[in-house]
Symmetry: C2
Subunit: 381 residues, 2 copies
Amino acid sequence: MAVIGAGMSRFGELWNMSFRDIVISAGLEALEDANLEGREIEAMYVGNMSAGRFIAQEHVSALIADYSGLASINIPAIRVEAGDASGGVALKEAYIAVASGIHDIVIAAGVEKVTDVGSSSEIMDSSIDKEWEAFNGATLAGLFAMMARLHMHEYGSSEEDLARISVKNHKNAVNNPKAQFRREITVESVLNSPYVAEPLKVLDSAPISDGAAVLILASEDVARKYTDTPVFLDAVVQSSDYLALQNRRDILEMRAVKTATRKALKLAGCSLDDVGVFELHDSFTIAEMLLYENVGIAERGKGHEAIREGVVELGGSNPVNPSGGLKACGHAVGATGIRQAVEIVYQLRGDAGKRQVDAETGMAVNIGGTGATAVTSVFRR
Amino acid sequence: MAVIGAGMSRFGELWNMSFRDIVISAGLEALEDANLEGREIEAMYVGNMSAGRFIAQEHVSALIADYSGLASINIPAIRVEAGDASGGVALKEAYIAVASGIHDIVIAAGVEKVTDVGSSSEIMDSSIDKEWEAFNGATLAGLFAMMARLHMHEYGSSEEDLARISVKNHKNAVNNPKAQFRREITVESVLNSPYVAEPLKVLDSAPISDGAAVLILASEDVARKYTDTPVFLDAVVQSSDYLALQNRRDILEMRAVKTATRKALKLAGCSLDDVGVFELHDSFTIAEMLLYENVGIAERGKGHEAIREGVVELGGSNPVNPSGGLKACGHAVGATGIRQAVEIVYQLRGDAGKRQVDAETGMAVNIGGTGATAVTSVFRR
């Protein structure tokens, strides 16, 4: 399978753009990038977490088909939702639609417009178990804070280690023109920012952003008609874990991430050593650190060493989040999984400007909530 | 492709059951029906329109995987949403997942719990265009009312004709033990019920119901291990139309329905004459009447003749909604597309009791909102 086009809106507080403006702008950029007419699209998958609550609109797949003109050719348009893994799951469903031979050219999109409501944090918390977690006072930040506390207790990681992850991602975002926060921060500023849920602080937490990202997938035969240099999507695998943290035997083990990543590498026929660039889901800094361990960049209990030693920096052996990640590029919830994939595509095509990494193979890992859904994708140039 | 198991909860106001109870009960019935262990399931697709607003919970795919025990085997669980076509779209995605060869045994579920909030009508209206329709005062009922008015004006159909559709569906539901309204009504009682949006009345309108329905799909090779008498799912096709009624050239032509139905019949290798039993989306009586025309049971402008002449009655040549349809079996929104399919499966297996129709082939048509999404599926025994 090949990626023949990629596009994204700027991420941030897009006060002058509505939901439909945001997603259409990203879609047009992807179509231009692919040098494609809209009418060549055969199906559209849209990742979106909560348009129902953010903009009081369900059925957004039909809305986007309508406003992009694609309803005129009656293509199937499908919204998929899995908390902040919605984008990753949309990519996986689009992948299956092409891999099955049912469609040749398919859009995988993700979009969220969150700044029109004041209750976005409470809405974000609807990706955890409302009856058994949220009802008892837990929040997404609070659950990740428990994971951080346990890691610190068991393995000696520190608030400074987590702060370093945030600092790295901000540094990378400076060179990403689509990023929400294009400014460096320091470990001190992170440590001095207010607690959200101790030990996690405001600057350990991804913002909630407006934004959209779009990939165009095609079978390899068809892709050759449009480009001589496609990026190949060798695998997208989704797995699940218990939604409620209390049901997991070990809250530092992200079983969905492990399963999805192991299967994706096997499908792609490569090992983690072959992967030269990563986009890992850093809704909180602790999430990124746990992903080092659960993806396999670091051993269990040694995630903090990867950031201390610079392994995951742009010049390191396993650069993570060259885009700035969710923390600094922004976290437009349902768009994030696609946005991560767009960055990997830019990196593998050599289109990443000053944040360019030299890599043949890239990986994106998108999770929902505290990891009940995980999607791992492997791209190759 | 084969259906090896089917199950559903009762539809109605299920005050004593939560979202998770409802879907798990339907799932267990389907697993028992298939004589299958949960661990044999490889993926789960869930149609759900608006858990975010009905129960303040997104990420319901992970919730269901968790509470069904399937998170222990890390299967991918995907929620799809397309207004009240969510169930149909879930069926289609599950179909593709098996047809692609990626999975052998997959669950297609639909579920909605609506009675925990007081604003369910406003939430239902989020399947139409909020900015361009609802904001200007339109409701789902109001838009269907315009379609009804135009049909009456152009073709001479009447409020009595629409009432007859409701009477038929109530009559059928008497023999459906899972139905919400198991009582006959009369044309007079429909005509005397209050207007919702003239000319549509309360008794022209489907209720909003709690409920869940589940199908288990398998490749034909695998199906033979579980049953000697599978029902075959020969085609599921989804199409789109403009979301906003104002963007359609002809509001009585349901282009998504026509396209999906034509393609589904072609894929299934049969004609409409071969189809002996139908479940058609009757969110309002006018929707069912327009489906007669757009599916092809009646010619354009002659939908009302099909009900006047009894063609669509249980003893007629094209029986429609033996289950009682959305009107009388109930309309658990995201569950409806799967619930329709469950009825067709029961009919083709000869398990429909006193509402049994003698048919070799059956069709279900599920639409979202005023028809911006349509899914047509064709089953065969």
